[in-house]
Protein backbone atom coordinates (compact mmCIF):
# COMPACT_ATOMS: atom_id res chain seq x y z
CA UNK A 1 0.00 0.00 0.00
CA UNK A 2 1.21 3.50 -0.75
CA UNK A 3 0.03 6.98 0.12
CA UNK A 4 -1.50 8.58 -2.97
CA UNK A 5 -2.75 12.14 -2.47
CA UNK A 6 -3.75 11.17 1.07
CA UNK A 7 -5.41 7.89 0.05
CA UNK A 8 -3.94 4.56 1.09
CA UNK A 9 -3.88 2.57 -2.15
CA UNK A 10 -2.44 -0.70 -3.44
CA UNK A 11 0.23 -0.50 -6.14
CA UNK A 12 -0.59 -4.13 -6.90
CA UNK A 13 -2.61 -6.99 -5.47
CA UNK A 14 -0.16 -9.55 -6.84
CA UNK A 15 1.78 -9.17 -10.06
CA UNK A 16 1.40 -5.93 -12.05
CA UNK A 17 2.04 -7.84 -15.29
CA UNK A 18 -0.65 -10.43 -14.50
CA UNK A 19 -3.15 -7.73 -13.51
CA UNK A 20 -2.36 -5.82 -16.69
CA UNK A 21 -2.74 -8.86 -18.95
CA UNK A 22 -5.93 -9.95 -17.19
CA UNK A 23 -7.44 -6.55 -17.99
CA UNK A 24 -6.45 -6.92 -21.65
CA UNK A 25 -7.68 -10.53 -22.00
CA UNK A 26 -10.62 -10.70 -19.55
CA UNK A 27 -11.25 -7.91 -17.03
CA UNK A 28 -9.61 -5.85 -14.32
CA UNK A 29 -11.35 -4.15 -11.42
CA UNK A 30 -9.89 -0.97 -9.97
CA UNK A 31 -10.84 0.88 -6.80
CA UNK A 32 -10.67 4.45 -8.06
CA UNK A 33 -12.50 5.99 -5.11
CA UNK A 34 -9.62 8.45 -4.75
CA UNK A 35 -10.82 10.29 -7.85
CA UNK A 36 -12.69 13.44 -6.85
CA UNK A 37 -16.45 13.37 -7.52
CA UNK A 38 -18.25 16.72 -7.52
CA UNK A 39 -21.91 17.48 -8.11
CA UNK A 40 -22.97 20.82 -9.57
CA UNK A 41 -26.67 21.64 -9.58
CA UNK A 42 -29.16 24.47 -9.62
CA UNK A 43 -30.78 26.58 -12.34
CA UNK A 44 -27.48 28.32 -13.11
CA UNK A 45 -25.29 25.18 -13.16
CA UNK A 46 -24.95 24.86 -16.94
CA UNK A 47 -24.14 28.51 -17.57
CA UNK A 48 -21.70 28.58 -14.69
CA UNK A 49 -19.71 25.56 -15.87
CA UNK A 50 -19.92 26.83 -19.44
CA UNK A 51 -18.14 29.99 -18.28
CA UNK A 52 -15.39 28.07 -16.49
CA UNK A 53 -14.43 24.96 -18.46
CA UNK A 54 -12.40 24.65 -21.66
CA UNK A 55 -15.02 22.32 -23.09
CA UNK A 56 -18.52 23.31 -24.21
CA UNK A 57 -20.92 22.32 -21.48
CA UNK A 58 -24.25 23.99 -22.25
CA UNK A 59 -24.99 21.64 -25.16
CA UNK A 60 -24.27 18.38 -23.32
CA UNK A 61 -27.28 16.08 -23.43
CA UNK A 62 -28.40 14.22 -20.34
CA UNK A 63 -26.45 10.98 -20.05
CA UNK A 64 -23.31 12.20 -21.78
CA UNK A 65 -19.90 13.25 -20.54
CA UNK A 66 -16.88 14.98 -22.04
CA UNK A 67 -13.18 15.27 -21.32
CA UNK A 68 -12.26 18.83 -20.32
CA UNK A 69 -9.48 20.86 -18.78
CA UNK A 70 -9.93 23.10 -15.76
CA UNK A 71 -7.92 26.27 -16.29
CA UNK A 72 -7.33 29.52 -14.48
CA UNK A 73 -6.31 32.88 -15.88
CA UNK A 74 -3.18 34.30 -14.27
CA UNK A 75 -2.07 36.58 -17.08
CA UNK A 76 -1.55 33.46 -19.16
CA UNK A 77 -3.16 30.13 -18.47
CA UNK A 78 -2.58 27.59 -15.73
CA UNK A 79 -4.05 24.12 -16.11
CA UNK A 80 -5.44 23.11 -12.73
CA UNK A 81 -6.60 19.66 -13.78
CA UNK A 82 -8.15 17.50 -16.45
CA UNK A 83 -11.62 16.18 -15.69
CA UNK A 84 -14.72 14.49 -17.00
CA UNK A 85 -17.80 16.69 -16.99
CA UNK A 86 -21.15 14.95 -17.38
CA UNK A 87 -24.83 15.69 -17.30
CA UNK A 88 -27.22 13.49 -15.37
CA UNK A 89 -31.03 13.65 -15.33
CA UNK A 90 -32.48 16.97 -14.18
CA UNK A 91 -33.52 17.52 -10.58
CA UNK A 92 -37.20 17.29 -9.61
CA UNK A 93 -37.52 21.08 -9.98
CA UNK A 94 -36.29 20.82 -13.56
CA UNK A 95 -32.87 22.36 -12.93
CA UNK A 96 -29.83 20.68 -14.52
CA UNK A 97 -27.47 18.42 -12.60
CA UNK A 98 -23.84 18.04 -13.64
CA UNK A 99 -21.01 15.87 -12.39
CA UNK A 100 -17.27 16.47 -12.45
CA UNK A 101 -14.64 13.76 -11.92
CA UNK A 102 -11.26 15.26 -11.08
CA UNK A 103 -7.85 13.91 -10.08
CA UNK A 104 -7.25 13.03 -6.44
CA UNK A 105 -4.07 15.08 -6.32
CA UNK A 106 -5.87 18.19 -7.62
CA UNK A 107 -9.23 17.83 -5.91
CA UNK A 108 -8.51 20.25 -3.07
CA UNK A 109 -7.39 23.12 -5.23
CA UNK A 110 -10.04 22.52 -7.89
CA UNK A 111 -12.81 22.52 -5.28
CA UNK A 112 -11.54 25.66 -3.58
CA UNK A 113 -11.04 27.39 -6.92
CA UNK A 114 -14.60 26.48 -7.98
CA UNK A 115 -16.05 27.58 -4.63
CA UNK A 116 -14.33 30.94 -5.00
CA UNK A 117 -16.20 31.50 -8.25
CA UNK A 118 -19.67 30.40 -7.18
CA UNK A 119 -22.35 32.99 -7.91
CA UNK A 120 -24.41 34.38 -5.03
CA UNK A 121 -27.35 32.17 -5.96
CA UNK A 122 -28.47 29.58 -8.47
CA UNK A 123 -25.57 27.11 -8.32
CA UNK A 124 -24.81 24.50 -5.67
CA UNK A 125 -21.47 22.66 -5.55
CA UNK A 126 -21.10 19.50 -3.46
CA UNK A 127 -17.97 17.39 -3.02
CA UNK A 128 -19.36 13.82 -3.01
CA UNK A 129 -15.98 12.07 -2.93
CA UNK A 130 -16.17 10.79 0.66
CA UNK A 131 -19.84 9.84 0.47
CA UNK A 132 -19.37 7.62 -2.57
CA UNK A 133 -16.97 5.03 -3.92
CA UNK A 134 -15.87 4.51 -7.53
CA UNK A 135 -15.05 1.16 -9.10
CA UNK A 136 -13.72 0.80 -12.66
CA UNK A 137 -14.35 -2.53 -14.40
CA UNK A 138 -12.36 -2.71 -17.63
CA UNK A 139 -11.64 -5.31 -20.27
CA UNK A 140 -13.41 -7.45 -22.85
CA UNK A 141 -15.42 -9.30 -20.18
CA UNK A 142 -16.23 -6.19 -18.10
CA UNK A 143 -19.71 -5.54 -19.49
CA UNK A 144 -20.75 -9.17 -19.24
CA UNK A 145 -19.64 -9.33 -15.59
CA UNK A 146 -21.36 -6.11 -14.53
CA UNK A 147 -24.59 -6.66 -16.45
CA UNK A 148 -24.79 -10.15 -14.96
CA UNK A 149 -25.41 -8.42 -11.63
CA UNK A 150 -28.30 -6.35 -13.00
CA UNK A 151 -31.92 -6.93 -13.89
CA UNK A 152 -32.76 -7.45 -17.57
CA UNK A 153 -33.74 -3.82 -18.25
CA UNK A 154 -30.65 -2.34 -16.59
CA UNK A 155 -28.42 -4.91 -18.27
CA UNK A 156 -29.78 -4.03 -21.70
CA UNK A 157 -29.39 -0.31 -21.06
CA UNK A 158 -25.76 -0.68 -19.90
CA UNK A 159 -24.91 -2.94 -22.84
CA UNK A 160 -26.41 -0.36 -25.19
CA UNK A 161 -24.49 2.58 -23.69
CA UNK A 162 -22.16 4.33 -26.10
CA UNK A 163 -18.71 5.55 -25.15
CA UNK A 164 -18.81 8.55 -22.81
CA UNK A 165 -22.45 7.85 -22.00
CA UNK A 166 -23.86 7.27 -18.55
CA UNK A 167 -26.98 5.86 -16.94
CA UNK A 168 -28.18 4.70 -13.57
CA UNK A 169 -28.83 1.09 -12.67
CA UNK A 170 -29.11 -1.33 -9.81
CA UNK A 171 -25.88 -3.34 -9.65
CA UNK A 172 -25.89 -6.17 -7.11
CA UNK A 173 -28.92 -4.47 -5.62
CA UNK A 174 -27.07 -1.17 -5.11
CA UNK A 175 -28.14 2.09 -6.81
CA UNK A 176 -25.23 2.82 -9.13
CA UNK A 177 -24.21 5.53 -11.59
CA UNK A 178 -22.75 3.69 -14.58
CA UNK A 179 -20.61 5.34 -17.27
CA UNK A 180 -18.98 3.75 -20.32
CA UNK A 181 -15.62 5.33 -19.55
CA UNK A 182 -12.22 4.23 -18.36
CA UNK A 183 -8.48 4.76 -18.32
CA UNK A 184 -7.12 1.52 -19.74
CA UNK A 185 -7.80 1.49 -23.48
CA UNK A 186 -10.34 -1.29 -22.97
CA UNK A 187 -14.10 -1.31 -23.14
CA UNK A 188 -15.64 -1.11 -19.72
CA UNK A 189 -17.55 0.92 -17.17
CA UNK A 190 -16.94 3.07 -14.16
CA UNK A 191 -19.39 2.70 -11.29
CA UNK A 192 -20.19 5.23 -8.58
CA UNK A 193 -21.97 3.75 -5.55
CA UNK A 194 -22.81 4.94 -2.03
CA UNK A 195 -19.74 4.55 0.18
CA UNK A 196 -21.57 2.17 2.53
CA UNK A 197 -22.30 -0.23 -0.36
CA UNK A 198 -18.85 -0.23 -1.92
CA UNK A 199 -17.71 -3.55 -0.45
CA UNK A 200 -20.98 -5.24 -1.47
CA UNK A 201 -20.51 -4.20 -5.10
CA UNK A 202 -16.76 -4.96 -5.13
CA UNK A 203 -17.27 -8.46 -3.75
CA UNK A 204 -20.20 -9.20 -6.05
CA UNK A 205 -18.11 -8.23 -9.10
CA UNK A 206 -15.14 -10.24 -7.83
CA UNK A 207 -17.31 -13.31 -7.27
CA UNK A 208 -19.04 -13.04 -10.64
CA UNK A 209 -15.90 -12.05 -12.54
CA UNK A 210 -13.33 -14.35 -10.96
CA UNK A 211 -14.40 -17.41 -12.98
CA UNK A 212 -14.21 -15.26 -16.14
CA UNK A 213 -10.63 -14.19 -15.36
CA UNK A 214 -11.36 -10.82 -13.73
CA UNK A 215 -8.69 -9.69 -11.28
CA UNK A 216 -8.48 -6.79 -8.85
CA UNK A 217 -5.81 -4.38 -10.10
CA UNK A 218 -3.75 -1.72 -8.36
CA UNK A 219 -2.22 1.60 -9.33
CA UNK A 220 0.71 -0.14 -11.01
CA UNK A 221 -1.41 -1.83 -13.69
CA UNK A 222 -3.59 1.27 -14.01
CA UNK A 223 -0.45 3.20 -14.97
CA UNK A 224 0.93 0.65 -17.46
CA UNK A 225 -2.52 0.24 -19.06
CA UNK A 226 -3.06 3.98 -19.53
CA UNK A 227 0.50 4.36 -20.83
CA UNK A 228 -0.07 1.71 -23.51
CA UNK A 229 -3.36 3.44 -24.34
CA UNK A 230 -1.48 6.73 -24.81
CA UNK A 231 -3.58 8.50 -22.18
CA UNK A 232 -2.05 11.52 -20.45
CA UNK A 233 -1.73 11.69 -16.67
CA UNK A 234 -1.83 14.99 -14.85
CA UNK A 235 1.57 15.77 -13.33
CA UNK A 236 3.35 13.74 -16.00
CA UNK A 237 2.20 14.58 -19.53
CA UNK A 238 -0.27 17.29 -18.57
CA UNK A 239 1.24 19.93 -16.31
CA UNK A 240 0.18 23.38 -15.08
CA UNK A 241 1.97 25.21 -17.89
CA UNK A 242 1.55 22.63 -20.66
CA UNK A 243 0.38 23.47 -24.19
CA UNK A 244 -2.64 21.16 -24.65
CA UNK A 245 -2.38 21.42 -28.44
CA UNK A 246 1.24 20.20 -28.38
CA UNK A 247 0.05 17.35 -26.16
CA UNK A 248 -2.55 16.33 -28.73
CA UNK A 249 -5.35 17.39 -26.39
CA UNK A 250 -6.80 20.12 -28.59
CA UNK A 251 -10.14 18.25 -28.55
CA UNK A 252 -10.49 19.20 -24.88
CA UNK A 253 -10.33 22.92 -25.69
CA UNK A 254 -13.36 24.50 -27.37
CA UNK A 255 -12.22 28.06 -28.02
CA UNK A 256 -15.46 28.64 -29.93
CA UNK A 257 -19.01 27.51 -29.28
CA UNK A 258 -20.71 25.27 -31.86
CA UNK A 259 -22.16 28.51 -33.25
CA UNK A 260 -18.65 29.91 -33.74
CA UNK A 261 -18.77 32.38 -30.89
CA UNK A 262 -15.58 32.83 -28.85
CA UNK A 263 -15.89 31.25 -25.41
CA UNK A 264 -14.42 33.46 -22.66
CA UNK A 265 -13.38 30.80 -20.12
CA UNK A 266 -10.35 31.54 -17.89
CA UNK A 267 -7.13 31.39 -19.88
CA UNK A 268 -8.91 31.29 -23.25
CA UNK A 269 -6.81 34.10 -24.74
CA UNK A 270 -3.54 32.36 -23.88
CA UNK A 271 -4.85 29.03 -25.19
CA UNK A 272 -5.93 30.73 -28.43
CA UNK A 273 -2.36 32.00 -28.90
CA UNK A 274 -1.05 28.46 -28.31
CA UNK A 275 -3.42 27.07 -30.92
CA UNK A 276 -2.70 29.76 -33.51
CA UNK A 277 1.10 29.83 -33.11
CA UNK A 278 2.27 26.25 -32.59
CA UNK A 279 5.74 25.92 -31.12
CA UNK A 280 7.77 24.02 -28.61
CA UNK A 281 7.91 20.32 -28.03
CA UNK A 282 5.15 17.85 -28.91
CA UNK A 283 4.03 14.63 -27.26
CA UNK A 284 5.10 11.40 -28.94
CA UNK A 285 5.35 7.73 -28.14
CA UNK A 286 8.77 6.08 -27.89
CA UNK A 287 9.07 2.34 -28.46
CA UNK A 288 12.18 0.69 -27.04
CA UNK A 289 13.90 -2.42 -28.33
CA UNK A 290 14.88 -3.77 -24.91
CA UNK A 291 12.90 -4.26 -21.72
CA UNK A 292 14.86 -1.53 -19.96
CA UNK A 293 12.53 1.42 -19.49
CA UNK A 294 13.29 5.11 -19.58
CA UNK A 295 11.49 6.63 -16.61
CA UNK A 296 10.00 10.07 -16.12
CA UNK A 297 12.55 12.91 -16.58
CA UNK A 298 14.97 10.78 -18.62
CA UNK A 299 16.59 12.79 -21.41
CA UNK A 300 15.75 12.01 -25.04
CA UNK A 301 18.86 12.35 -27.21
CA UNK A 302 19.68 12.54 -30.89
CA UNK A 303 21.80 9.53 -31.91
CA UNK A 304 25.35 10.42 -32.80
CA UNK A 305 25.95 13.82 -31.26
CA UNK A 306 23.74 13.15 -28.22
CA UNK A 307 22.02 16.52 -28.46
CA UNK A 308 19.07 16.66 -26.01
CA UNK A 309 15.85 16.77 -28.02
CA UNK A 310 13.24 15.91 -25.40
CA UNK A 311 12.26 14.60 -22.01
CA UNK A 312 10.36 11.43 -21.04
CA UNK A 313 7.07 12.11 -19.21
CA UNK A 314 6.09 8.47 -18.45
CA UNK A 315 7.89 5.22 -19.18
CA UNK A 316 7.62 1.56 -18.33
CA UNK A 317 7.97 -1.96 -19.56
CA UNK A 318 4.87 -2.66 -21.65
CA UNK A 319 3.32 -5.99 -20.61
CA UNK A 320 1.24 -6.22 -23.81
CA UNK A 321 4.13 -5.51 -26.18
CA UNK A 322 7.00 -7.10 -24.25
CA UNK A 323 9.37 -4.16 -24.53
CA UNK A 324 9.86 -0.74 -23.01
CA UNK A 325 7.60 2.16 -24.04
CA UNK A 326 7.45 5.80 -23.05
CA UNK A 327 5.67 9.03 -23.75
CA UNK A 328 7.90 12.06 -24.20
CA UNK A 329 7.85 15.69 -25.21
CA UNK A 330 10.31 16.12 -28.11
CA UNK A 331 11.39 18.80 -30.57
CA UNK A 332 9.12 18.96 -33.62
CA UNK A 333 11.94 18.13 -36.05
CA UNK A 334 12.39 14.68 -34.48
CA UNK A 335 8.70 13.95 -33.83
CA UNK A 336 7.91 11.99 -37.01
CA UNK A 337 6.97 8.35 -36.44
CA UNK A 338 9.90 6.04 -37.09
CA UNK A 339 12.59 8.59 -36.14
CA UNK A 340 15.47 6.81 -34.38
CA UNK A 341 16.32 8.42 -31.04
CA UNK A 342 18.00 7.43 -27.79
CA UNK A 343 17.00 7.75 -24.16
CA UNK A 344 19.43 8.16 -21.30
CA UNK A 345 18.86 5.35 -18.80
CA UNK A 346 21.25 5.82 -15.91
CA UNK A 347 24.75 5.42 -17.36
CA UNK A 348 23.61 3.90 -20.66
CA UNK A 349 21.77 4.95 -23.78
CA UNK A 350 18.90 2.85 -25.10
CA UNK A 351 17.77 2.97 -28.72
CA UNK A 352 14.12 3.95 -29.26
CA UNK A 353 11.92 4.86 -32.18
CA UNK A 354 9.17 7.45 -32.30
CA UNK A 355 5.93 5.46 -32.42
CA UNK A 356 2.33 6.47 -33.00
CA UNK A 357 0.09 6.68 -29.94
CA UNK A 358 -1.62 4.69 -28.63
CA UNK A 359 0.85 1.81 -28.39
CA UNK A 360 -2.07 -0.54 -27.85
CA UNK A 361 -5.50 -0.48 -29.46
CA UNK A 362 -8.08 -3.09 -28.57
CA UNK A 363 -8.93 -5.49 -31.36
CA UNK A 364 -12.42 -6.64 -30.62
CA UNK A 365 -15.18 -4.53 -32.13
CA UNK A 366 -17.46 -2.86 -29.68
CA UNK A 367 -20.85 -4.50 -29.13
Amino acid sequence: MVDFAGWSMPVQYGSIIEEHLATRSAAGMFDVSHMGRLDVGGPGALDWLESLLTRCVSDIDVGRCRYTLVTTDDGGVTILDDALVGRVPDAADGSPRMTLVVNASNRGRVVSWLRGRLPAAGVALADRTAATAMIAVQGPAALEVVTGLCGADDAARITGLGTYRSTSASVAGVPTAVSRTGYTGEDGVELVVPEADAVTVWEAILAAGGPRGLRPCGLGARDTLRLEAGMPLYGHELTANADPFALGLGLAVNLESPQGVARPFPGAAALRRMRDTPGGRVRVGLAGTSKRAAREAAAVLRPGDGRPVGVVSSGSFSPSLGHAVAMAMVDRDVAASGTALEVAVRDAREAVRVAPLPFYRRQAPRK
Binding site: Q12, I16, I17, S290, K291, A293, S316, F317, A348
Partner: protein
Protein backbone atom coordinates in the same frame (compact mmCIF):
# COMPACT_ATOMS: atom_id res chain seq x y z
CA UNK B 1 17.88 -22.77 7.06
CA UNK B 2 20.98 -22.45 4.93
CA UNK B 3 23.96 -22.47 7.27
CA UNK B 4 26.48 -21.41 4.65
CA UNK B 5 24.56 -18.30 3.52
CA UNK B 6 25.15 -14.79 4.83
CA UNK B 7 22.94 -11.83 4.03
CA UNK B 8 23.44 -8.10 3.59
CA UNK B 9 20.79 -5.73 4.94
CA UNK B 10 20.21 -4.76 1.28
CA UNK B 11 18.92 -8.32 0.63
CA UNK B 12 21.89 -9.85 -1.21
CA UNK B 13 23.14 -13.26 -0.08
CA UNK B 14 26.71 -14.53 -0.29
CA UNK B 15 28.03 -18.08 -0.04
CA UNK B 16 31.73 -19.01 0.32
CA UNK B 17 32.97 -21.40 -2.39
CA UNK B 18 36.11 -23.44 -2.91
CA UNK B 19 39.23 -21.62 -4.05
CA UNK B 20 38.63 -18.44 -2.10
CA UNK B 21 35.61 -17.45 -4.18
CA UNK B 22 32.09 -16.50 -3.12
CA UNK B 23 28.74 -16.56 -4.94
CA UNK B 24 26.26 -13.67 -4.63
CA UNK B 25 22.54 -13.52 -5.32
CA UNK B 26 19.42 -11.85 -3.93
CA UNK B 27 17.12 -13.31 -1.31
CA UNK B 28 13.81 -15.02 -1.99
CA UNK B 29 12.18 -12.23 0.02
CA UNK B 30 13.71 -9.58 -2.26
CA UNK B 31 12.56 -11.40 -5.41
CA UNK B 32 9.06 -11.69 -3.98
CA UNK B 33 8.97 -8.03 -2.94
CA UNK B 34 10.23 -6.74 -6.29
CA UNK B 35 7.82 -8.85 -8.43
CA UNK B 36 7.48 -8.45 -12.19
CA UNK B 37 11.21 -8.44 -12.91
CA UNK B 38 11.93 -7.43 -16.50
CA UNK B 39 15.59 -6.43 -16.77
CA UNK B 40 18.92 -7.07 -15.05
CA UNK B 41 22.28 -5.47 -15.66
CA UNK B 42 25.41 -7.31 -14.54
CA UNK B 43 28.88 -5.93 -13.85
CA UNK B 44 31.89 -6.61 -16.09
CA UNK B 45 34.09 -9.54 -15.15
CA UNK B 46 37.30 -8.20 -13.62
CA UNK B 47 35.60 -5.18 -12.05
CA UNK B 48 36.80 -4.38 -8.54
CA UNK B 49 34.02 -3.49 -6.13
CA UNK B 50 33.81 -2.23 -2.56
CA UNK B 51 31.30 -3.54 -0.05
CA UNK B 52 28.06 -1.59 -0.43
CA UNK B 53 28.90 -0.45 -3.97
CA UNK B 54 26.44 -1.06 -6.82
CA UNK B 55 27.35 -4.07 -8.94
CA UNK B 56 24.35 -3.89 -11.20
CA UNK B 57 20.66 -3.19 -11.30
CA UNK B 58 17.44 -5.08 -11.40
CA UNK B 59 14.36 -3.53 -12.87
CA UNK B 60 10.73 -4.42 -12.21
CA UNK B 61 7.69 -2.92 -13.91
CA UNK B 62 7.40 -0.32 -11.17
CA UNK B 63 10.99 0.55 -10.25
CA UNK B 64 14.72 0.07 -10.69
CA UNK B 65 16.78 -1.28 -7.77
CA UNK B 66 20.54 -1.48 -7.31
CA UNK B 67 22.35 -4.70 -6.53
CA UNK B 68 25.07 -4.10 -3.94
CA UNK B 69 28.30 -5.96 -3.29
CA UNK B 70 28.01 -7.57 0.15
CA UNK B 71 31.82 -7.59 0.50
CA UNK B 72 34.77 -6.00 -1.33
CA UNK B 73 36.51 -7.96 -4.03
CA UNK B 74 36.89 -8.68 -7.73
CA UNK B 75 34.10 -9.94 -9.98
CA UNK B 76 35.29 -13.23 -11.53
CA UNK B 77 32.11 -14.55 -13.17
CA UNK B 78 28.61 -13.31 -13.96
CA UNK B 79 25.47 -15.36 -14.64
CA UNK B 80 24.76 -14.19 -18.19
CA UNK B 81 21.97 -16.71 -18.94
CA UNK B 82 20.05 -15.36 -15.95
CA UNK B 83 19.49 -12.00 -17.70
CA UNK B 84 17.42 -13.82 -20.31
CA UNK B 85 15.37 -15.86 -17.84
CA UNK B 86 14.71 -13.71 -14.79
CA UNK B 87 11.99 -16.13 -13.66
CA UNK B 88 14.88 -18.33 -12.47
CA UNK B 89 15.38 -15.80 -9.66
CA UNK B 90 11.96 -16.67 -8.31
CA UNK B 91 12.25 -20.42 -8.87
CA UNK B 92 15.72 -20.96 -7.42
CA UNK B 93 17.10 -17.76 -5.85
CA UNK B 94 19.89 -19.56 -3.93
CA UNK B 95 20.92 -21.93 -6.74
CA UNK B 96 20.47 -21.36 -10.47
CA UNK B 97 19.46 -17.76 -9.69
CA UNK B 98 22.98 -16.80 -8.56
CA UNK B 99 24.08 -13.45 -9.98
CA UNK B 100 27.87 -13.01 -9.68
CA UNK B 101 30.94 -14.83 -8.33
CA UNK B 102 33.60 -12.70 -6.75
CA UNK B 103 36.97 -13.14 -5.07
CA UNK B 104 36.63 -11.39 -1.69
CA UNK B 105 39.59 -9.25 -0.68
CA UNK B 106 39.10 -10.36 2.91
CA UNK B 107 36.94 -13.47 3.51
CA UNK B 108 36.60 -12.38 7.14
CA UNK B 109 34.39 -9.50 5.90
CA UNK B 110 31.59 -12.07 5.51
CA UNK B 111 31.41 -12.69 9.24
CA UNK B 112 30.03 -9.18 9.71
CA UNK B 113 26.95 -10.03 7.64
CA UNK B 114 23.63 -11.41 8.90
CA UNK B 115 23.03 -15.13 9.23
CA UNK B 116 19.74 -16.59 7.96
CA UNK B 117 17.98 -16.24 11.33
CA UNK B 118 19.04 -12.62 11.77
CA UNK B 119 18.08 -11.81 8.18
CA UNK B 120 14.67 -13.46 8.54
CA UNK B 121 14.11 -11.47 11.76
CA UNK B 122 15.01 -8.22 9.95
CA UNK B 123 12.61 -9.00 7.10
CA UNK B 124 9.85 -9.87 9.55
CA UNK B 125 10.29 -6.59 11.42
CA UNK B 126 10.20 -4.63 8.14
CA UNK B 127 7.07 -6.21 6.71
CA UNK B 128 3.70 -5.37 8.13
Amino acid sequence: MAADLKFAKTHEWIRPEAGGLATVGISAYAVEALTDLVFMQLPAVGKRVKAGESIGEIESVKAVSDLYAPVSGEIVEVNVPLTGSLETLGKDPYGAGWIVRLRPDDPAEMTGLLDQAAYDAMVKSQSH
